[in-house]
């Protein structure tokens, strides 16, 4: 089994020309595509339709190429499209394919393993509470097992698009009056997904959690989660990426927490862990082509300070802190790697320490 990855710059959210070229030239077999992770140039918020636009184009293409229905496309391939290309970020996708057959004898060198799965459908009242966490952790563990990953330490990225089942205004009022207000929103869905990742990888004991701690006790966090959430989505879509001695290919993944949005030492460590020799603290230009995917979570520190000094991201009513923090971390990642096709998603409830986040990098070795 082998994961291959293809980084493609896009000219607009629905631009498939780069993908089509690789398929037409035989470099990508559409039947082997297992997931596509990318950044589109919307605001990353509730009225960001760039992801829908990209999805319409992808579903149309794969439905036609694979001769399956559109619904089957999204069952077969996980799309993790994140809006928000603030600052220097270049809209792009990375297409991951899975090919080959599984092997019985482990190799000396571990290679990138990637598996996908789905939770059951959630009810709106389950989101941001223990039922979401338990079910999500269960599915993650299942995927990890399938990947034949030796140790939780070899899991380096748990990418999720969390469920946010819809509810009516009246149901919302009802829940609030019942003193169990709906949490079916982006904040709680992301937070619970991240806690589930921490549970699945053994960073947190499930027994130490309760409804009351979700999005409250930020000392509990995952080091490998990267969760978004999508209004209207009923089940959570999950990808697990790690290194396994049962997988082939030339890709590896490494990760670390970010202590804050300026944590270049952590970025450097993740790169060095992949075998890169840095020059003046940054990736050498000659190594740029080996860099496949840079995935990070960002957050405007809710305590209002970065490195001991006040920031203003959370008092700004013109520009969302989500756009600022993505811009900040993307800029730092782009400066250190030399690559502007980085994927930063925000916010980072229970992703690394408060004001920080998580970082995973995939590279060719």
């Amino acid at each position: 089994m082998e994961i291959k990855a293809f980084k493609i710059l896009t000219k607009s959210p629905s631009d498939l020309s780069g993908l089509i070229e690789l398929v037409d030239s035989g470099k990508i077999n559409p039947a082997e595509v297992i997931c596509i992770i990318g950044k589109t140039e919307g605001n990353g918020g509730r009225n960001d339709f760039t992801r829908d636009l990209a999805m319409l184009a992808f579903e149309d293409y794969f439905s036609s190429m694979l001769r399956i229905s559109r619904a089957d496309v999204t069952d077969k391939i996980i799309f993790s499209l994140s809006g928000g290309c603030e600052g220097v970020v270049s809209p792009h996708i990375v297409v991951y394919t899975k090919s080959g057959t599984s092997k019985n004898i482990p190799a000396v060198e571990k290679r990138l393993a990637l598996g996908i799965g789905f939770t059951r459908e959630f009810k709106p009242e389950e989101i941001g509470r223990m039922p979401q966490i338990e079910e999500t952790a269960r599915v993650i563990k299942e995927i990890v097992d399938q990947l034949q990953i030796d140790s939780p330490k070899d899991v380096h990225l748990i990418q999720m698009k969390g469920a946010i089942p819809s509810f009516t205004y009246e149901e919302g009022e009802q829940a609030q009056k019942a003193n169990k207000p709906m949490r079916s929103d982006m904040v709680y869905s992301r937070g619970a997904s991240a806690l589930a990742a921490a549970v699945a990888t053994g960073e947190i004991e499930i027994e130490s959690l309760s409804d009351d701690l979700v999005c409250i006790d930020y000392d509990k966090y995952s080091s490998t989660a990267s969760c978004s959430a999508k209004p209207g989505l009923k089940r959570t879509e999950i990808m697990v990426l790690g290194n396994s001695s049962y997988w082939d290919g030339d890709l590896k993944i490494n990760s670390n927490i970010l202590n804050d949005m300026l944590d270049i030492e952590s970025i450097q460590k993740v790169l060095e862990g992949l075998g890169f020799k840095l020059s003046n603290g940054h990736l050498k230009e000659e190594d740029l082509s080996k860099l496949i995917g840079v995935y990070a979570k960002s957050e405007a520190d809710p305590r209002g300070m970065v490195r001991g000094k006040r920031h203003t991201m959370l008092q700004d009513d013109d520009i969302s802190d989500t756009r600022y923090s993505r811009c900040v971390l993307s800029s730092v990642l782009a400066a250190i790697t030399g690559d502007t096709a980085v994927y930063v998603s925000t916010r980072s409830e229970h992703h690394g320490p408060q004001g920080g986040g998580t970082l995973s990098i995939i590279a060719r070795v």
Copy 2:
């Protein structure tokens, strides 16, 4: 003669508490204050009233402390307040004082010299054209001479707030019909100021310039300018900072062009030129207190590309490219220096190469 500098974090644009404390404790003599450079938390655009708010507070305070009129305050002290604290940027001011007497015998070590001046008042039709460039260059040269700076290479920052004299809608229409459209706007005023800086320091021959090249021929640029422009301002306010063997104190300044917004090698060189030993490519935490002022100009590359990849800053109608590019460069500067109290002003017409800018850093040696 000696320049002292005091970096003060502010709680709001009109927060003078830090300044007042330093004055009350005798550390700052208000009569010695020569200029105040700072960032306020507005949008940096036409409806940014945070600078006006800060100015009202400063004028009020110095007028009362120095027993002079408000108009005299702005004649005596140059205020360079720049709006826009995007991302991690921490609102702050740096107060510069000048004290002591001039000396006749040069020292071995050069130290920070700072002088200020004003152009004559401009007519709106002069802005963005040769008359603005010539008059501005003349005043800069005059200040440089007064500072006893040996060589143009010792000039490291020419900070200007450029004139944008007002004109009526009808005058604007008239000028457009006369095929000499008004250029009295931020873009042209900044561009002409920067070209004037390049002329004054010998980077460009005045003969090589003409009205037609302003904001067109971006191969001509200054390496040390940092120009903003203020609607309604009739004359350009100028500060020149360099190193001189006739000045005392413990401050030095260094500068470099930025080739793009991610140019960390240039940032590293400016820091190393000030004597800092970097660790993993960034300033050591123990050296942070020696860092006084970080002044840079940013720009969303008008060619639409950064490091060969598309950026979307110039097609975004929700957030201005000015805010994005300040956020990008500030983030990179904050990551390398560890300081979020950095001063980035945008855009950078004729400031360094296109898509790049200028960077000047003042530090304690």
Copy 3:
């Protein structure tokens, strides 16, 4: 006793030139100024510094004219400056003065009466809960009594700037863990102020209220409140305006609820109640000079519908619904009155029915 009113257009938030002219020409006696209500051109949000800028200018001016301290200025005069001049709204202030002596025999015609007052300082945990409501209602009643207003029906505007005492991040976490989360924010402070107005004028029985109903049970509302709230303000500032037979002058006030942001019939009724004869449903141009103050509260209907059709104001992450709803209602008011110097404040929790608001108009009779 007589209230006079002066509507003054401003050129910027700190532009006092119109006020100074009226004072210098003897038309306004600064010692008689009792309140100033105006719109400044900020975003009306947390980082709107235009109100601070205006306040600094006003405090400076009145402190100097009345030879009292700045703190005494804000004790003597209530300033209700609201940010947000969206769309056609023209930045302006209306200066209200009180002069003459009280009379014992009521006149046949009632005239505008205006009184001001302050609550005690609130603790952050009181905001949005019964203590805020009770204390605020108490002070409103006191003012109404002082104004010698015959009936609660003669009260037409209860303008308040509500307290939002600050609390630390840790205090906030503490309160959340104690299951009594802090409500010291704009939403709850405005909501509780409006409920207090309804209690004071007898629209709601205090017994029918409880902490749990604040910002939940929107069937309970005031018909005359216009409440904003200001972070950091410790006490609520209150103005009550009504018609009284014990007051002289040529001003009257009238009010009505708005059923939604497009409720022109309600606007027409308020105008007609002041004696205006409308032409084609709008104010005649010749009557424009009699229009003094138009005060309204707006709200993007939280149910997501206006007149049975979906609106998108609450799903827009680029522009706040507060800016949209102010723009909508201001436009409608400006179209019907022909005046763009209208004062619309948002949001309208417990101000008129949900999705609606309140409207009060002061005119010369």
Copy 4:
């Protein structure tokens, strides 16, 4: 020949459920659809992808229903999708179908006639100059002739999506140096399209125009144009709507210029001209179902004043004047008609007098 119209509210830019229902129930014959005009909930700017999203969905649907290629869909049906549902505006489409056969004997009553056409492809240097105006006017006249409209006064709406052919950064620089700067942008393309409409309907003599007057001499304008422009579009797409005695059905159209964004008298006249009896100056609720399409152009008055008072729309760097002016005019139209499914497009260069616009309403008689 008969035009039928179907107003359909949409739940998202790609929501075709309402259309599909009408097709499936036999009310709309997809083969008869001639144009679709609608508002989508983007920002209406350069990074508004909601139109692309809607287009992808429409092309997909009609391509499948009509068994023609996607390119043929856009040749057969004109789509005029305008982004920007500010304030109360409800996203919607109006589907127009053409059916029946042409008749030789004119009826007494004129009915809505609708024709479409395309200009040739333009070169970027032609945009905003005479070649664009001449070619566009030529095509409009051709369509008017085909519609058998008696008099230019019977033309009430010339809806266009103007070409903005792309050019490279270098081509742009080249053109600027050659003193004939590129005008291939939204402003000039809209302006030239509107002038072409005025030429085609005889409001302006072609001889009175020249390159120099485009977007300068705003006293020259069309009373019936409604032009947008789309970056990358090579030819201008044109719809002409008027009343003709050779057409059947129950629809009529009427129009008027708007003198400013608050011109309710003009709105009332257009409604009354369609036979509506207004109540208190607004459309009666019982007549709402007869209202089909409300099409208007808005503009933040470039002179900075509305009704003699300053507005701030053009100095706001947080929110575009395009969004403000659409919000203002939409609110006024919604208040007078009671319908929030209105179509306002901005800006209005050469559309009605400066600071004003055009208004066309289609109703069932």
